[in-house]
């Protein structure tokens, strides 16, 4: 009996170690640019292995600055980026995959050659790099274009090459700055699937985006940054929780004054009255509505990420 409890203890300890062991964290990052502009003010978040983390915020909020600090392209004034519970150095970053906000490829270099080159730079052997390149080219639908110079490709295809460059070395962590911008809906789905697959493989994936519906659909957790500060972070459900649960009731042709005893906001739409309330006792609200008229809708209002975002940033 006691030995089993000990086993469970060991199991949990191992599990926790495993999670922390592959977690990417930032702690209190601060960055002020030479111009005196405070770009980041104590930015902290954590991304677990296999978690897809959506990083959202208005233009100039500090997403790119944060990601560049994580990738070591910029240096924070203070604060720390940790990987697997320890400091993040060059050798570890070399195993990261990165797609910068401003895409960069050698315009005159051929597609396959370019992907292969980055594979080698990230430390793959010639054979492994060739193999990874061939697989990616195939997966991303670039087979026909392997011998074309990058400059001859459409923007969408250039973006695929950019993604291939970030993926070629089978990275431990993926950091993508607005990877979905400028893609058509089909390309968005393809990219989303590629990222999900990496996350399923246990890789923490961080990406920034303005497309909140996409982030809501794709991400396990979300960080909202505003003017250099993390104003909210957690799973979408947690963020909703912080918002407070709301009930939405629609009653057709109700008796007037039925909602007088309830808090919240009552609006009239055609012959219907709509009540949005934060009352804790949902059954009491339902009873009041049923006695007032025909209840057409009764449900928990789930705020969209867009609403959460607007609330958080306001």
């Amino acid at each position: 009996m006691s030995s089993r409890r000990a086993d469970i203890g060991v199991f949990w300890a191992a599990a926790v170690r495993d999670i922390i062991g592959h977690m990417l964290e930032t702690e209190e990052l601060r960055k002020t640019f030479g111009t005196g502009k405070v770009a980041l003010d104590r930015v902290s978040f954590a991304v677990r292995p296999g978690e897809m983390f959506g990083f959202v915020g208005a233009n100039g909020a500090g997403k790119t600055t944060t990601m560049r600090i994580v990738m070591g392209v910029l240096e924070a004034d203070s604060g720390e980026v940790r990987w697997k519970g320890g400091p993040l150095g060059f050798a570890e970053r070399r195993r990261f995959g990165y797609m910068p906000e401003e895409r960069g490829l050698y315009q005159k270099m051929k597609v396959a050659e370019q992907i292969d080159y980055f594979g080698r730079l990230h430390g793959l052997s010639p054979a492994a790099s060739k193999k990874a390149t061939a697989e990616l080219v195939e997966r991303l639908g670039l087979t026909e274009r392997t011998k074309d110079a990058v400059e001859a490709l459409s923007l969408g295809n250039q973006q695929r090459v950019q993604l291939a460059v970030a993926l070629v070395h089978d990275p431990d962590v993926l950091i993508l700055d607005e990877p979905f911008s400028g893609l058509d809906p089909i390309a968005v789905d393809a990219l989303a699937e590629a990222l999900r697959e990496r996350a399923r493989g246990g890789v923490p994936v961080i990406f920034s985006s303005h497309q909140l519906d996409l982030v809501e659909r794709l991400c396990d957790s979300v960080g909202i940054i505003s003017a250099g500060r993390m104003v909210a972070s957690g799973t979408v459900d947690e963020l909703r929780g912080a918002e407070g649960r709301k009930l939405r009731v629609i009653v057709a042709d109700p008796k007037p004054g039925w909602a007088d005893g309830l808090s919240g906001e009552l609006t009239v739409e055609g012959g219907r009255e709509v009540l949005v309330t934060e009352e804790d006792d949902d059954q009491r609200v339902l009873r009041a509505a049923m006695s007032a008229g025909r209840v057409e809708h009764f449900g928990v209002e789930r705020p969209t990420l867009t609403e959460i975002f607007k609330e958080a940033v306001a």
């Binding site: 990738m71 070591g72 970053r93 990261f96 990165y98 910068p100 401003e102």
Partner: protein, 366 residues
Amino acid sequence: MNGLLLVAGREIRTQVRSKAFVVGLVIMVLLVGAISFAPKVLGGPDSYKVGLVASERLPVWGDTKIEWKDYADEAGAQRAVLDGDVDAALVGGTRVLTDGAIDDQLGLLLQSAHREAQIGSSGVKITPLSMESVGADTRYQKTRSGIAVVLVIVLFMLIIGTPMMVAMGVVEEKGSRIVEILLTSVRPWQLLGGKILGLGAVGMINLVAILVAGLGGALASGLAVDFPPGMAGIVVGVCVWFVLGYVFFAALAAALGSLVSRQEEVGNVLTPMTMTMMASYGVAFYSVKEPTSLVATIVSYIPPFSSMVMPVRSAAAEVPLWQVLISAGLMVAGVVVVVLLAARIYERAVLRTGARVRLRDVVTSR
């Protein structure tokens, strides 16, 4: 090290495959090959044709060759002179017919040969004067100057052209932000060093091809017999000086290039460097004519000017080895300083995109 070699490999492959490289190389090779042929074609003749009418051949000695041609009568010889078939015709062993005034050298040659023939027939033997220079050996002066001129042009083009490519490559990577990805997988010194190494190898390919074309042309045209002693030393010296000069200017070009983000700004930001190069070029050209002058001697010790002036000076005139070694030692020291400084500037500036980075900011910060 591996990262450095990968970067260098990419630079070499990219350049060697480009049209600009192939076309440039072919043009240079043809040009230098032609130049090494030219003195034979353009220089004064060292053989003459002389017609003979009722005359014996004269005992000519020395480097100059005379091709004799017999004519039956004076009228035939006269026609040959006027048609340019022969340079002169000797009639009856006493008169020389020419078309206008006789070529100075040929005139002297015929006169002295005639005199010797006359004296020889009276039984007196003459030993030719033996010539000894107690000053500098000037026998090879013409060839030396020729080689020096070619070197000035070749070194100038390669030492200015190759660092230019380094700067353009740096700006390409910075401007396209590809450097952000590169620097998460290689160190700045690997990226910078690989670029300098790779493009340097491309420059070296150019230089070796040009030297081979020049030497090959000289051998084929027979010009090579006039090569001064120690030609091999001159050739090796040129390669060493190219490497020193190239690394110096390439590091400088990379550092300056890393300050800007757009190709259009490269020319502007490199101005101080191009001015230095033009100055080196000017002095180098001057030392072709005046290799022993005080200016050429002094400047051939000062880095980076020495990288162009010293090889030219030692081709144009004989320079003691110890002087070359001192000059090379100073240049190596200059290269080390510039490379260290350039690496520092590059590392700090290459990720700062946007407006041109001020040199003072990168050198002094942190």
